[in-house]
Symmetry: none
Subunit: 194 residues, 4 copies
């Protein structure tokens, strides 16, 4: 493994500690202990405890993208690709449920909101491209506006995943059914023509 900068060490440690303890119970001392650095070093890279949040958000968005890119096979049918997207997003949400909730709240705690759009931008773009291709291949309805719909889709799938994994304690059977319902919902929404 290559050298990891101290800043990256902090971010990684922060993701983990926030995930395990939640925002209020996370102490800077926990983060630095896990990162293997001194307390003061934290403040060389971040001005305050909460200022790691945007960096964490970036990491999370990257995780989403990595998973989605790995999962989606462009040779598969649009319908299948849609399922793959949903699966990828659900998987990341499941694994990082706590951090994701924190990011949402964390970003709005500061005046970092402005960053949000920027952070998600790459993911929005990817999804946009996906829709543009599908549209030009006649696989989805022509009235889809790729940019706007890409944002809707990401928000939607994440929200559906959060609903399942964060808020509604559902069993696996119900989880599967809910996911199916989502996919059918999306297929109709996009007017998919396989």
């Amino acid at each position: 493994m290559v050298d990891i900068s101290k800043k990256e060490k902090i971010i990684n440690a922060a993701v983990q500690v926030f995930q395990e303890k939640g925002i209020e119970k996370t102490k800077v001392s926990d983060i630095v202990k896990l990162a293997g650095i001194a307390q003061g070093t934290f403040y060389l890279y971040f001005p305050s405890k909460l200022s790691v949040m945007p960096a964490i958000a970036e990491v999370m968005v990257k995780k989403f993208m990595v998973e989605v890119k790995n999962e989606v096979d462009e040779n598969d049918s649009i319908s299948t690709q849609l399922s793959q997207i949903v699966n990828a997003i659900f998987r990341v949400t499941k694994n990082y449920r706590e951090v994701l909730a924190l990011i949402y709240a964390g970003l709005s705690t500061d005046d970092n909101l402005k960053n949000w759009e920027m952070i998600y931008n790459a993911f929005y773009s990817w999804m946009s491209e996906f829709l543009i291709t599908a549209k030009s291949n006649g696989k989805i309805r022509g009235s889809v506006h790729p940019e706007r719909t890409s944002k809707l889709m990401i928000a939607f799938i994440e929200a559906a995943a959060e609903q399942i994994y964060l808020y509604d304690a559902v069993n696996e059977e119900e989880e599967r059914m809910q996911k199916s319902e989502l996919i059918v919902f999306l297929e109709h929404a996009l007017g998919i023509q396989n």
Copy 2:
């Protein structure tokens, strides 16, 4: 105006203070000051600072329902009713953006998650009924599963609204376009037949 119980005063004050200051900066002393009661009195009604959260969530869900019920006119077309639902949810989200983000995070902070489903239950039910009626009238596709789709819709419309009002700083024109895209998306998703 009728008498407001101290408990309600606390909840209302808490909504306002959380809205203005965010979860971390909200002090019990702020809440009681605004509520016009003594510090100790707070603890006669709530065991801890965070235990107001579910009560706040209930209030917010009620706000959603009141707005939706007021806005939706059953005599209008399904398509129109859908717009009305979207408008109502967007309006509440716009006015209470901060608290809503806090509730999401706040509920997951505690082990109150379990309450979430219960709190939203009435709203889910209402939406479910809406879909059942629409379905039995042949206004939406028959494959819609009302319970599951009701959850999806609520999560989706809220998420779309949050995206606009919390995270992406969009202008009014773009806000309108995004909302239109959402409605068209939903119409196709539900397979609306006016």
Copy 3:
């Protein structure tokens, strides 16, 4: 002994701790421990560690006045009374050298300077009265301006005492000689006619 308010307990403890440890090494925890109260209680009475300083200054000025009033016998000659004043001020300075240095620095640390004149006011007034009486009795030169000279005298005697007790490590013999020189100096300055 009568009841001492918490505020007074804090001030008394602060005087003692500052005297013993100096401004930088004095911890709030030391003060409250000595005062026999909880750490948080300190902040019910003072907004910050340094904000006790003006209160301490008041206490010190009172100590000066008490000593001076006790020492000076109006039936004695002016010359003797002058010695008594010097002795009183020297004694307090000797006993509280550290706090006195701290007060000087402490007051200028904050923007509390403005208080300084107010705090010393009673002492200035007393000295002024002393000069007025002496002047109207023809015991000192007629050109003395009581208000202005009272300030000069207090500043002067304190400075002379500080010089001896704070800065120049002198032996007792030299201390006595220096004090004599001061008194002769003052006698001429005031144009004393016994």
Copy 4:
């Protein structure tokens, strides 16, 4: 301008920063930033943050002496020379009020007190010489003890200046009157015979 050694750069920067921020808020990082050197370099010249204090004090005493020597004209009358001394000391005090207060407190913070006398020694000597000359010329009373009185005078004039510039917020008119009172006071104290 000739080359300034790093040590001098540090001292000059320290004077300025202490003047602006006060002793507690002055960080070594501020000093080195202003001095244009690296943080670690500071410790090549001074063992600790407070150890610059004596060096600063030396600089300040030198400033006093330079001003006094420049101002005082030996050909003028004793009375005039006295005014010149007062003016010089007042001027320096006015310009460096904050540092001067800090030095007083700063020196007593450490166990550097012992240095104080040494640092002031040259100034004491100069004043002593001044008094010896005046005395041998019969310009001041014969009972003046030059060494002791030189210390008193310096302490006194500085204290009077500090009173005006540090503690009592007086207007220019009052400042002038207070200074006059001081000079008359000194003339009588020294028994000046022009």
